[in-house]
């Protein structure tokens, strides 16, 4: 557990980075610090591993007052992932991942073996082991950064905007990976981001920071969305918060229908489609590839696979209403594609069913206020 | 020995005349200035061309390194024996010394100007000459003057050796002193040339600061423009 007890950070120039912060981060929780730049979220996180020392107040990690722990010793027990990964450019991937272990005094050989395991755990191809960071893509570098933080198996993980510099597709991948890792490892994670969507997707608890380093709300992601504590949080969460809150509403009651499919292999010789019908094209593993209608079918001979209309976003079985709605809205056929965890086709959801589920949900979400404990420091609300 | 030195410097007669300190100083500065001027005539256009077009960078680096290795004393003595002139050989050797730092300064200055600024200038419709003279040159000035500073340092130091091939300058004191076993005179020469180098280096360091773009240290205050700005924007209320 990590606790902040009336922690204030004043910089030499007089600005207040963090103002009287008190909060508790439970063991095994995924806590996201979110807020605009200059709100003290990063400063707060960096005080946990003494990259910055507070001006006033006490921080404890696992019951120990960290001001009594040597910074290097403290840091060796806390994993740290930063934006752009911060890898050592002169070390190979495996040696980068082994860094903390070697610093802890583990022999190089043993450290490398553990590092290779950590690489596999975060989904890195072992062939990358002997490459230098410059030979990796941004997303791969970020994975190496996560592997380095996890290699020594620290109980606490600090992540400073780790996915901000990668493109949205890779970010989505990394976020999913992070959730998977957390479900396996149950670390105490403190994650800093300015992206409220990322905060809500990843965090089981979200701490919203405001200008001047004042904590505005500390709550579950859903509570921050549905019951913002003050106008600042409302504003940060934004006008789409109603839509975003669909992320917390299950869509399992929305029926999945069968859909007409065409195999990708024999696309040219498929029977002609009816004028307004759409068919889903799937590959040999039944993974959807794209949509086809009569107009586009006429182009297949000339353009091949490029004639297909894009799939739109995909939905998964444990899907939320937001995913389902998005799948429906982004599909050219007005039907959202549902796939299993391996990406194989399960069926489609239809717009009418999703809308019906939406109105059913709206009737039932007004009375769950008591379930989600709001623990924001009340003096922060102003 | 230091007392002898002080006495020598304190005696006014040692300053005047064709072999006096002042004249030696003028000679020394003269050789240096001449060599720097010729060096600049060669290096500046070349550096501008290479910096602006980005062609021939490899040649510059190679040339600068080779010329750095070329010993001035050797070049000087060799040329004296070949052409029996007193002035041209030492100046040539000094020019060879001045060109690499000047060239590197001009080239690096131009090449380091932010390419997006140059692109913007081109997009606004400036000709290549206008880009070179109005955009690249002003932004390159600190590095160009930096190159001049390096060149000056080396040329002033090495001009001392010109006395070895029977020229004047402050080196005279060192060589005459060595020949006459008059160590005071040797020290005098060493001291004077060091002082000269330090003063010139300090002055040029100051110039480097002055020519930093955007600091306004070089600009004369445009009162008309300031008035126009004041008219349009009433003084901000002090809240």
């Amino acid at each position: 557990m990590i606790t902040f007890d009336h922690v204030t950070k004043r910089f030499p120039d007089g600005t207040v980075g963090v103002d009287d912060l008190s909060l508790e981060i439970e063991q095994g929780s995924f806590t996201v610090f979110v807020g605009p730049s200059g709100c003290g979220k990063t400063t707060s996180m960096r005080m946990i591993n003494r990259m910055i020392d507070p001006t006033e107040g006490t921080i404890t990690v696992g019951g120990r007052d960290i001001s009594t722990v040597r910074p290097t010793e403290l840091r060796l027990g806390i994993g740290y992932v930063i934006q752009n990964a911060g890898l050592m450019p002169h070390r190979t991937v495996v040696d980068n991942v082994a860094t903390v272990l070697v610093l802890q005094g583990v022999t190089k050989r043993k450290a490398r073996i553990t590092a290779l395991e950590a690489m596999e755990r975060v989904g890195l191809d072992l062939r990358m082991a002997t490459r230098y960071p410059a030979q990796l893509s941004g997303g791969q570098q970020q994975r190496v950064g996560v592997a380095r933080a996890l290699a020594a198996d620290p109980p606490v993980l600090l992540m400073d905007e780790p996915f901000s510099a990668v493109d949205p597709v890779v970010r989505d991948d990394l976020q999913r990976e992070m959730l998977r890792l957390q479900s396996e490892l149950s670390k105490t994670i403190v994650f800093v981001t300015h992206d409220i969507d990322e905060a809500i997707r990843l965090g089981d608890r979200v701490a919203v920071f405001g200008t001047g380093g004042v904590l505005q709300q500390l709550d579950t992601a859903e509570a921050v969305l549905t019951r913002p504590a003050n106008p600042f949080v409302t504003n940060l969460v934004g006008r789409d918060r109603g839509f975003r809150s669909l992320s917390f509403q299950s869509a399992t009651q929305v029926p999945v229908h069968d859909v007409e499919t065409l195999p990708l292999a024999g696309l040219g010789s498929a029977p002609a489609l009816a004028p307004h019908a759409w068919a889903l094209v799937v590959d040999g593993d039944r993974r959807p590839v794209g949509w086809l209608n009569a107009t586009r079918q006429a182009l297949v001979g000339e353009r091949g696979e490029a004639a297909l209309a894009p799939l739109g976003s995909l939905s998964t079985p444990s899907r939320t209403l937001r995913q389902s709605l998005d799948a429906v809205l982004s599909s050219p056929s007005e039907r959202g594609v549902v796939v299993d965890d391996d990406g194989a086709l399960l069926g489609v959801v239809e717009a009418n069913d999703v809308l019906a589920a939406l109105s059913a949900q709206r009737g039932s979400t007004t009375d769950d206020a008591g379930v989600l404990g709001a623990t924001a420091t009340q003096d922060a609300l102003s | 020995m230091l007392a002898d030195l002080a006495a020598y410097l304190g005696d006014g007669t040692n300053w005047a005349g064709s072999t006096g300190i002042l004249n030696r100083l003028v000679e020394h500065v003269g050789y240096s200035a001449l060599a720097l001027l010729v060096g600049a005539v060669i290096a500046v256009p070349l550096g501008l061309a290479i910096g602006h077009t980005g062609r021939g960078e490899g040649i510059i680096v190679g040339l600068a390194n080779t010329m750095r290795a070329l010993p001035s004393l050797g070049l000087m003595t060799f040329l004296v024996l070949l052409m029996s002139s007193t002035l041209i050989p030492p100046i040539t050797a000094l020019v060879a010394l001045a060109v690499p730092p000047l060239l590197a300064g001009v080239y690096a200055g131009i090449a380091n100007v932010d390419r997006s600024v140059v692109d913007a200038a081109r997009a606004m419709g400036m000709t290549e000459w206008q880009i070179l003279l109005r955009v690249e040159l002003p932004n390159a000035l600190p590095l160009i003057v930096g190159g001049l500073r390096g060149a000056t340092l080396q040329v002033v130091a090495t001009a001392t050796i010109a006395a070895f091939v029977n020229l004047g300058g402050l080196g005279r004191y060192i060589f005459d002193g060595l020949a006459l076993y008059d160590y005071t005179r040797v020290l005098l020469g060493a001291l004077l040339v060091t002082a000269l180098a330090l003063v010139l280096d300090g002055l040029l360091a100051l110039v480097v600061k002055l020519v930093q773009p955007g600091t306004g240290r070089m600009t004369v205050r445009d009162t008309g423009l300031q008035a126009a700005i004041d008219d349009r924007a009433p003084a901000a209320p002090t809240a």
């Binding site: 030979q135 | 020995m1 290795a69 004393l73």
Partner: protein, 242 residues
């Protein structure tokens, strides 16, 4: 090399040896002294400023002046080669301290920060992160210093200790240009060889620049799999990669 130098090799050889000694020794000592100074002072603002100002001042002193003044300060004889060694070492330290600062400044701040955050102590970071990453700039700076030293040694000839530079003074006095030419050619050769050697040493110590090809990493991967036979997955990957 021209004919004079070959005919008179017995006379030239000791000068060449002296030249090598006078240029290599100060370069090595100077760099070895400058790097720790640079590492120690880089983050101390005031000390660093003093070091920079002091080194520019040293570098401003003309070499000939330094050669003739040093005996007074060191109590050596005017014709002692040690004067030249000390003078060139001073220049090398002066230049290399500044180069070290620049080289360390070129290490990305994010990398240094990340090293601190994962638990490097400051001295360990200095030697294991900052120093290796500074090698490319350090190498470039050392090449310049070395070549300058090789050329500067010859100035010592006017006070009788200049290695190959003595070919200039005696050639000049004897009105014998061929002898001077021999000196020029040999000095250029020494400079080029010295420059190449330093470049190669720099390359050898920066495998992440040299070995950043996929071929090289596949090679390292096979070596790693051999070194760690207990990691079965690594063996599989290697045999799959062939």
């Amino acid at each position: 090399m021209n004919l004079w130098g070959i005919r008179n090799w017995e006379a030239v050889q000791p000068l060449l040896v002296q030249h090598l000694y006078l240029s290599v020794v100060p370069t090595l000592i100077g760099v070895v002294v400058a790097i720790p100074i640079g590492l120690l002072l880089r983050d101390r603002r005031r000390a660093r400023t003093v070091a920079v100002v002091l080194s520019s001042a040293i570098f401003t002193i003309p070499s000939l002046a330094l050669f003739v003044v040093l005996p007074l300060l060191l109590g050596t004889r005017v014709l002692d080669p040690i004067n030249v060694v000390v003078a060139l070492t001073l220049y090398t330290v002066a230049l290399s301290v500044r180069t070290t600062f620049e080289a360390l400044d070129a290490v990305p701040a994010a990398t240094r920060e990340a090293a601190t955050a994962v638990g490097y102590s400051s001295w360990r970071r200095a030697t294991a992160v900052d120093l290796p990453l500074a090698i490319p700039v350090l190498t470039a700076g050392t090449r310049v210093v070395a070549v300058t030293n090789v050329s500067m040694v010859s100035v010592g000839a006017v006070i009788g200790i200049g290695g190959l530079g003595q070919l200039f003074t005696t050639g000049y006095q004897r009105d014998f240009p061929e002898q001077i030419l021999t000196g020029l050619v040999l000095i250029l050769l020494v400079a080029i060889v010295f420059d190449r050697i330093i470049a190669l040493v720099g390359r050898a110590f920066t495998p992440w620049i040299r070995g950043a090809s996929l071929r090289a990493s596949e090679r390292r991967l096979r070596a790693l799999a051999q070194a760690l036979p207990e990691v079965g997955r690594l063996r599989e990957v290697v045999s799959g990669a062939r």
